[in-house]
């Protein structure tokens, strides 16, 4: 975040606060002796453009992330799931994401899916995320802000999207090559393809803590 971007933001009205729906699972919540909590590993915070919001991650994602020893959280931004609708565009949704991130115990990794990837990219411009994972981004900003603190960035797209303009935009902005997964970009929340995708993300995260 540059100083001028901060000055601009501090002088525009802040988005109206909303009571955000937040779902989380810690490794200890799984009651499984096999699972070791890794206190060094960065927590993960997920968001999606899907209208279900945080609830979309309940089926598979939160459990599987927690099973890898990480704190797993998911947030519904304004208008999604159990979070009331409120005024504000993408900036307000990025604000919701940052506000959720600062309540996570430690510096979090953002995982954004669909529109959520765009919000995560904006949020990473004002909060030093420990990592930024963009899954099948949609409506991606043309010039996303430079991520604060230089986190590692991962782009994951379905095979059908590998040549899409979003994938190209992300590649240009962050200089990362896309990782592809089989299956539809909207069906990432359960099923065999989703498990494969999630395991790929978690193994990318593993050495980075």
């Amino acid at each position: 975040m540059s100083l001028s971007a901060w000055v601009r933001r501090a002088r525009t009205p802040a988005p109206a606060p909303v009571a955000r729906e937040f779902a989380f699972l810690e490794p200890a919540d799984l009651f499984d002796l096999e699972i070791k909590d890794d206190p060094e590993a960065s927590p993960v915070l997920c968001c999606t453009g899907d209208p279900a919001g945080a609830a979309a991650f309940n089926a598979l994602w939160l459990k599987r992330i927690a099973a890898s020893g990480r704190y797993a959280g998911a947030v519904s931004v304004r208008g999604q799931g159990g979070t009331p609708a409120a005024e504000g565009g993408v900036e307000a949704r990025a604000h919701d994401l940052v506000q959720a991130a600062v309540t996570v115990p430690r510096q979090a990794v953002f995982i954004g899916h669909r529109e959520g990837a765009s919000w995560a990219a904006l949020a990473a411009g004002r909060y030093p995320a420990a990592g930024l994972v963009l899954v099948s981004p949609r409506q991606f900003p043309k010039q996303p802000p430079k991520p604060v603190g230089g986190p590692p960035v991962l782009l994951v797209v379905s095979e059908s999207e590998a040549q899409s303009k979003e994938a190209q935009a992300v590649t240009d902005a962050y200089g990362v090559a896309p990782l592809t997964f089989a299956g539809s970009p909207d069906e990432v929340f359960k099923g065999a393809a989703a498990e494969g995708l999630l395991d790929a993300i978690l193994s990318w995260l593993a050495p980075k803590k």
Binding site: V102, P105, Q107
Partner: protein, 451 residues
């Protein structure tokens, strides 16, 4: 010459030493770590949070301390406060916030508590030898660091005035930092000395708790309510800064007309300079308490006499309790004054761009400014610049030399001419100009090196 100490000192290599674990120290540690530096932070007390922690033995908190700048203008830029907090969080919330910041970024493991730095000595290779004196009587340790950042703050050494007859005074005199509980005011005749933010806040506490409150003010300053035009006052004023110049003056005058007239009605001469110059007093209740007579304003204290206090205007009173809300003087005990450009007995360092030592490239001070706006964001950008500077200096000496020249030329642009006799405004800077200057400094540091 250095042979003995270099054998005895433990060399920490490229690590940086941060002195103080208050708000500025924590921000410095976080930003240095983000730029890949190893950091050791030394805190002489046993708790973090500096002035915001009531357990800190040098804490300046008085009953009911709240922020005087609003949440959105005070939060650390990359770690916002929860948006359901009030506009003006309390001291307890500030401590919660700083503790969360330290926990979130894993800062505690880099802080050594109960370790006072007795002195720092420059040694060869623009490095420092730091002598750490543990609180619990063990022998001092010597360590070597590549750089030192002093973040010891300037709100811990009380500034105590000496009035004639004060040592013979038979009543109770407290500095504002010793007043930890509003019940001490209850049922007393209270004299509050000092017209800064703390004096005005304590006078308001006394107005509702004490039997009577007299407020002695030496010189008038701007009084702003905490809200202007339905918005937090500092936010409303800062927003005007983004308007075109010709409108700015007009809008500022319009928004300040009401508070200015109210102050004039209460017999306060508003100084000529705008409220953004010196730190204005930000309290919406004070003038109403003056208006309903529960605070009586007087001029300067002339002398103490037995149980009585007389004022410069010839009036007298017999207070049960005198609270000296006379502020603090900056005091840096850990570094030789010469390194910070101090000349003579003045406690005020002369730093380049208000943060870099004029003598040594690897010594910097964080948070020794009074910008009249929330200071945490200023410290964030200061330490951001310092961390980048140390980074550039390590990799590219030529760029570093150019940068040094720029910093020297930047210094002094944002000085505010002290308009009165009060020495405390030596730390004041014009926030707008200082931020612009910090922006230019950071831009230079972040530029890609010329090939």
């Amino acid at each position: 010459m250095q042979e003995y100490s270099s054998q005895a000192a433990y060399d920490r290599g490229e690590a940086v030493c941060v002195i103080g674990a208050g708000a500025s120290g924590l921000i410095a540690v976080k930003n240095l770590r983000e730029n890949g530096f190893e950091v050791d932070c030394y805190e002489r007390d046993t708790v973090l949070g500096g002035l915001w922690n009531p357990q800190n033995q040098h804490s300046p908190l008085y009953p009911n301390t709240h922020l005087v700048t609003s949440r959105s203008q005070t939060e650390i830029p990359d770690f916002p406060m929860p948006d359901d907090w009030p506009d003006y969080p309390s001291a307890a919330q500030m401590l919660t916030y700083l503790t969360a910041y330290a926990k979130h970024f894993g800062l505690s493991e880099h802080i050594w508590y109960g370790s006072e730095i007795s002195t720092i000595e420059p040694v060869e290779g623009s490095r420092f030898e730091v002598i750490v004196k543990p609180a619990a009587g063990n022998a001092a340790r010597r360590l070597r660091y590549a750089a030192v950042i002093i973040a010891t703050g300037h709100h811990w050494a009380p500034n105590l005035p000496a009035y004639p007859g004060q040592d013979q005074y038979r009543g109770t005199v407290l500095h504002s930092s010793q007043l930890k509980d509003a019940s001490r005011l209850r049922g007393k005749q209270v004299l509050v000395v000092g017209g800064g933010n703390s004096g005005v806040d304590i006078a308001c506490e006394a107005a509702v708790n004490a039997a009577g409150c007299v407020h002695s003010v030496r010189r008038d300053s701007w009084h702003l309510p905490k809200y202007l035009g339905g918005e937090p006052a500092d936010y409303a004023l800062a927003r005007l800064g983004s308007r075109p110049k010709f409108l700015r003056r007009f809008l500022t005058d319009r928004i300040l007309k009401g508070p200015g007239r109210l102050a004039a009605r209460m017999g306060i001469d508003v100084p000529d300079h705008g409220p953004t110059g010196e730190e204005p007093v930000r309290n919406g209740r004070y003038l109403e308490h003056v208006g309903d007579g529960s605070i009586r304003r007087r001029g300067e204290v002339a002398r103490f006499d037995g149980y009585d206090v007389s004022f410069a205007d010839g009036t007298e009173m017999r207070p049960d309790l005198v609270v000296l809300a006379t502020g603090y003087r900056p005091k840096i005990t850990c570094a030789p004054p010469g390194l910070l450009g101090v000349d003579g007995d003045s406690p005020y360092p002369k730093l380049l761009a208000r943060m870099f030592s004029p003598r040594l490239e690897t010594l910097a001070v964080a948070g020794l400014v009074e910008p009249g706006v929330g200071v945490l964001p200023i410290v964030h950008w200061q330490t951001h610049a310092i961390a980048h500077w140390l980074h550039v200096r390590k990799g590219d000496p030529e760029r570093a030399a150019n940068f040094r020249r720029q910093v020297v030329s930047e210094s002094g642009q944002y000085e505010i001419e002290p308009s009165g006799a009060s020495p405390r405004h030596q730390l004041a800077v014009d926030a707008e100009a200082y931020l612009a200057s910090l922006g230019r400094i950071i831009d230079t540091l972040e530029q890609e090196p010329a090939k």
